[in-house]
Symmetry: C2
Subunit: 434 residues, 2 copies
């Protein structure tokens, strides 16, 4: 077997075997297949695609490239969640405590990532003192005792994905469905949970702009998860505008806390309830979606979800008081309102633009490992379809200085479109793939 | 402009501009575009193709990547010839002296290359003492005085092609028509001749197996040559079986000399006459193909072509006597006849197989810069369509030892197919593209 022949085989449109994917991944990770051969192979995959079988073989090999997380010593049903990413996506921060408070074990690895804001890890660091450097033993212990733990992703989990992703990122081979599926699912399957819930975004602010592509991604991930023996379900939801109201690390933590306090009944809460209900029904802990949603609403109303977040923050070395008093979280020195330039209905809020504004404020990173400001961001007051008066505030900018606020303001204004008539309402939850 | 965007643009099927090819080639040669991005781009070209314009832009940029040969100080009409390569292809060795003897200046760069035998440079080194390390001044002087000079290709001529070809070779991106066109034509256009004649092979032993692909390659090369202001013509000829009778370096030199002596009236002579006639008509030295062929036959009959070869050998430091007495050329210590395993018509002689046998004998190279044995090879006695009796010799093996001969014999026997009836004759010259 040699790489050249495998490139030619894929280029010709043939299916590769399990052994051939094993050869490719093992040798690529070992460095004996050079990047220039792998990138030619990946570009051939762009044009020729991969069968479901091939995606499975690739995913399995990627998992084998590193360590897997052994959660067998964690009692109960373990769930993991993955979001395909979007603007203002703080779902994990609200959903995980809710799940843990009703008895699902959430023992999760998470990342920092590049983007409009930091990743979950960055957001969690808004809690003074909180660490996600949790070693194996402590990780299992906290999962059992608190029911909820989040650690930073180690380099040992699916190293093949790290190496492949870095190559795809610079060779125009990121947006290839089977490669996205195997990248996400290799990490989820290596993470040892019984139930995987996939939060798939669709729309202008999402990785997948078209609804049909998002559903196809959801379908392929769910199919692969099931073949691998995991209970897997995906929820496809709107990312044409940012999720919820806050975009920015600490600001998003505050919004998640508001959901857990029962003070926020918007889209973020809606999404958490649906995703949570999927987990509870898959776990057999609820007979119906309605019953599951009732359980989740209860844990908000009785304060147990909020206390679970506090227990989690404390267990990871953070200040639990910040959960109850969010003024202890980082806050920006300056706030500015952005007055609406006209009266009318908000036709669109480009999620992408809001995200770029957050980067301009210093709240995101475009380059790996660059520092981010947890305090900055924006809080929307109006969402798509809302009526706004001229000069009424569209949003509040939280900034570290006037200059960055000015820069953000420009991007923000360009992100809005208005209309004289109320725009057609589109469903927020587009569908569930089981 | 950045490489990533250009990959995406080509991947999407768009035409790249002149400036974009300039960016790609300049930066690739300079090392600031890594191989892994270029190989992804090349694979996208495999699927999306390139327009004629793009091929021109790429070719022009490749030429600019290095030096060009200035033949302005060579008096008269300068011609260059390129063969797409095949088995037993010794055309240059006979054609160039013929052209030079009728007054066309042949000032050529040539290569060693990988393959069943060495390249023209290797074959020429069969003449004792001959060198192709001819520097610029001597090159021009010999072109003017002898009318015929061949130098080894310098690293300074189209370095972009060298770098690109090495990458294509290991990434499954060799057989891409516009890339083949620009690889060949960049070198020809950089070599300063007025007339370019392209010897395009077609069939099982050729790079292009299908006749339609060979004609398309010929058409594209001719079109590009003309756009670049050169008189360009291509002859498409058969390479289902080896060209002529000899396969092996010194053996091929002997066959070329036999043509120049008027002792060989086979396909090699036929091809040389057609290619030569194309040059003479393009040069305006003959009114018709018939007249041109008469001129070329004359230079064989009156011995001037053979003397021209001798003058050339002498000018390049070789022993001119070997032209008249080929026993002075390298010869193998052992010869073996290969008896036909059956009686019948020869249906096919796989050129590829004959070539592989020559490599087994030590006459070719599979790895760059590996040494080759100039003396070994095979001389066919029968060609496709000939009748052969059982045990009648099919060919003579020229070997350095019995072991290599045995190995070659096995490959050779597998290369023949027989039939009870005479196979349909196919034209040797398939067409001329002007």
């Amino acid at each position: 077997m040699n790489t050249y022949d495998l490139i030619i085989k894929k280029r010709g449109g043939s299916e590769l075997t399990k052994e051939e994917y094993s050869y490719l991944i093992k040798n690529y990770v070992a460095g004996s297949i050079p990047d220039y051969q792998m990138s030619a192979f990946l570009m051939a995959v762009y044009f020729r695609g991969m069968s479901e079988k091939e995606t499975l073989y690739l995913t399995e090999e990627m998992i084998k490239s590193g360590d897997t997380l052994d959660l067998s010593n964690v009692q109960g049903i373990k769930a993991d969640k993955h979001s395909t990413g979007g603007v203002g996506d703080k779902t994990s921060l609200a959903l995980c405590p809710m799940l843990a408070s009703v008895g699902i074990k959430v023992a999760k690895m998470s990342g920092r990532g590049l983007g409009h804001t930091g990743g979950t890890i960055d957001k969690l660091e808004s809690f003074p003192g909180l660490t996600t450097s949790i070693d194996g033993e402590r990780f299992i212990k906290q999962a059992n005792e608190v029911g909820f733990v989040i650690a930073g992703q180690t380099a040992h989990l699916v190293p093949a994905d790290k190496k492949l992703y870095a190559l795809r990122d610079v060779t125009g081979t990121v947006d290839i469905l089977p490669l996205i599926v195997s990248s996400i699912m290799s990490k989820k399957l290596a993470s040892g949970a019984d139930i995987i819930v996939l939060d798939v975004k669709t729309g202008s602010g999402a990785f997948m702009k078209k609804e049909e592509d998002s559903f196809e991604l959801a379908r392929q991930m769910v199919s692969l998860g099931k073949i691998a023996g995991k209970k897997t379900v995906a929820v496809v939801s709107d990312m044409d505008e940012p999720l919820g109201f806050a975009v920015g690390n600490a600001l998003e933590v505050k919004e998640a806390i508001a959901v857990l306090k029962g003070e926020n009944e918007g889209k973020l809460r809606e999404l958490c309830l649906i995703l949570g209900a999927c987990v509870l029904t898959e776990a057999g802990m609820a007979e119906s979606e309605a019953e599951a949603i009732k359980m989740l609403k209860n844990c908000i109303e009785d304060g147990s979800a909020l206390r679970k977040l506090a227990d989690f923050v404390e267990a990871q070395g953070g200040d639990r008081r910040a959960v109850f008093d969010t003024s202890l979280l980082p806050s920006a020195p300056f706030t500015f309102e952005l007055p609406s330039p006209k009266a009318g209905y908000i036709k669109t809020i480009q999620a992408d633009g809001i995200g770029r504004a957050c980067i301009a404020l210093g709240g995101g990173r475009e380059i790996k490992d660059s520092p981010i400001d947890l305090s900055v961001g924006v809080v929307l007051h109006k969402k798509t379809g809302d009526y706004v008066n001229c000069n009424e505030s569209l949003l509040t900018i939280h900034a570290r200085d006037k200059e960055s606020a000015k820069e953000a303001e420009k991007i923000l204004l360009e992100s809005y479109a208005f209309s004289d008539t109320a725009p057609e309402k589109r469903a927020f939850i587009r569908g569930i793939v089981r």
